[in-house]
């Protein structure tokens, strides 16, 4: 039964993975809480100390922490090799955490110079340890698959993102980058979201979505085309961003990436069509919505590339919120509602199968609560976008509060699975 492929003798100790997951969820709550607390200051252009601080709680604390944990679990299991070093995975956690706290406080107080740069260096060390650990693990792989391809590419972009971030942090204190700081920031952000985060999400989707929906006998042609289009586009963007006035090449690269994303989405559609499990549980609902929001984000990205819409009030904030809290967060929450119950079930009950009654995965958490969380998240997302667009402060406060509530429900279910199940 394919769900077994979430766990195997190759998996690292559960407590290492759990540490990453827990830190990620706490970051999500802190992030939503800070947004609610500072709702009246969150407006205008994205290049502001507080918004940079909050963005990094989201990208490093919430998203990347979660991906690190998930990759430590999935890479060994799916590629059938042992993790190169469990010790490094443990050490890396603390280095990464220190780096995040340093960077976020550095941005918040706009303490550019040594504080920010030192934090960026610490983060780069954590990223290099992670990359080394995963690449050394992958070096032992005999059977490559589409997921492995995507994940290996993701590592490359992770390193690029971290290094570009380090250059930017130095540049804030001691300007040396000849081209505009904002253009370089643009590069850093797009390589982070399209290269690192989305490559992981796409790679993992190829494995998890068929597993969770019981789909097989589908072609992965679109997924492979998506891989090459996105990578070509990303390499294009990474190179043209180092120069000024290469607008045409930038347009071509952006169009390649967007086309690649649509090929990926078509691949997901093909998989969904082949599913044998027609009933959509809460996890699949989250995932379907996330893919829809990815399509909207890609179209929004094209609009920003080809028009001047980004100059309008709050447009880049809407774009960022949509990507982080829409597409990415919905997918994380949805996938975690499958991964966590299974991991806990496996550790607690797999040895008791056939000997005593064991719970089903759907009994491992309160699905009703999770459903409520789903609707809270949609409402909050729509509310934030609407309030940014029409500059309604009260709307922002309420919507950030609703997202906080959704994140607390997620934490509650996470702990419920862990402690009560």
């Amino acid at each position: 039964m394919q769900q077994e492929s979430l766990v195997s003798a190759y998996a690292p100790p559960f407590k290492i993975v759990l540490k990453y997951f827990f830190a990620a969820i706490l970051s999500f709550i802190i992030l939503n809480f800070l947004l609610m607390l500072n709702y009246s200051d969150i407006q205008g252009f994205h290049f502001q100390p507080m918004i940079l601080a909050l963005t990094h709680i989201a990208t490093l604390g919430w998203i990347t922490m979660m991906i690190f944990g998930a990759m430590f679990q999935l890479v060994p299991v799916v590629l059938e090799v042992k993790l190169f070093s469990e010790k490094l995975a443990e050490i890396q956690f603390w280095i990464f955490l220190i780096g995040i706290i340093g960077l976020v406080t550095g941005f918040w107080n706009f303490d550019t110079g040594i504080h920010l740069t030192a934090s960026a260096i610490v983060l780069n060390i954590a990223v290099l340890i992670f990359s080394f650990n995963i690449l050394a693990t992958m070096a032992k792989v005999k059977k490559w698959n589409i997921m492995g391809m995507y994940l290996a590419a993701a590592i490359f972009y992770l390193i690029t993102t971290a290094f570009a971030g380090l250059l930017l942090s130095i540049n804030l204190g001691f300007p040396f980058i000849k081209i505009s700081h904002l253009q370089y920031l643009n590069l850093h952000a797009h390589v982070a979201f399209v290269g690192w985060v989305s490559m992981v999400i796409m790679g993992v989707s190829f494995k998890l979505i068929p597993m969770f929906t019981l789909a097989h006998d589908y072609s992965v042609k679109s997924g492979t085309i998506a891989f090459w289009l996105i990578n070509l586009g990303l390499l294009g963007i990474s190179s043209v961003m180092h120069f000024e006035n290469l607008t045409l090449y930038f347009y071509i690269s952006a169009a390649l990436i967007a086309t690649g994303i649509f090929f990926f989405l078509f691949q997901m559609y093909v998989i969904f069509k082949k599913r044998m499990r027609k009933k959509a549980d809460v996890s699949i609902k989250f995932s379907k919505l996330a893919y829809t929001l990815l399509a909207i984000s890609a179209m929004f990205g094209l609009l920003i590339t080809f028009t001047n819409i980004a100059n309008e009030m709050n447009v880049t904030l809407i774009y960022g919120y949509l990507i982080i809290f829409g597409y990415i967060s919905m997918l994380i929450v949805g996938q975690m509602y499958k991964i966590m119950p299974f991991l806990v079930w496996y550790h607690k009950y797999s040895s008791k199968v056939g000997m005593e009654p064991v719970p089903m995965l759907k009994d491992m958490f309160k699905e009703k609560f999770a459903e409520a969380g789903y609707y809270f998240m949609i409402t909050a997302l729509a509310g934030v976008i609407f309030s940014f667009a029409f500059q309604i402060q009260m709307g922002l406060l309420i919507s950030f509060g609703t997202m906080l509530l959704a994140s607390i429900i997620f934490l509650y279910n996470f702990l419920y699975i862990l402690l009560k199940a």
């Binding site: 769900q3 077994e4 797999s350 199968v353």
Partner: protein, 98 residues
């Protein structure tokens, strides 16, 4: 010596926790044969190439050994004929919304 029906009954204790159904109702058990002291189960999984199929076969061996401590249990995992949703019981199909 355990009978075939008794064996099928204990195999219903081997569940797929995610789907919430047991391997018998899913139609994964193709045959149960009893020859003297040996019980052999021929079965498949929903998807070929599952890296964790060991744990399913271990569960199968375990529940049968518990039923009949004397028996030597053999599990043959086969991919032909391929499993299709049509092999599920009526209730199982309904459970999956198939």
């Amino acid at each position: 010596m355990a009978t075939k029906d008794e064996i099928l009954e204990v195999l219903k204790g081997v569940i797929d926790p995610e789907i919430g159904l047991n391997i018998v109702d899913l139609g994964l058990v193709y045959a149960v044969e009893i020859t003297g002291n040996e019980i052999s189960v021929t079965m498949t999984l929903t998807t070929p190439g599952c890296p964790m199929h060991n744990s399913i076969t271990t569960w199968v061996e375990k529940v049968i050994t518990q039923l009949d401590k004397e028996a030597s249990v053999k599990v043959n995992l086969v991919w032909e004929p391929r499993w299709t949703p049509d092999l599920m019981t009526f209730d199982a199909k309904r459970e999956l919304g198939y």
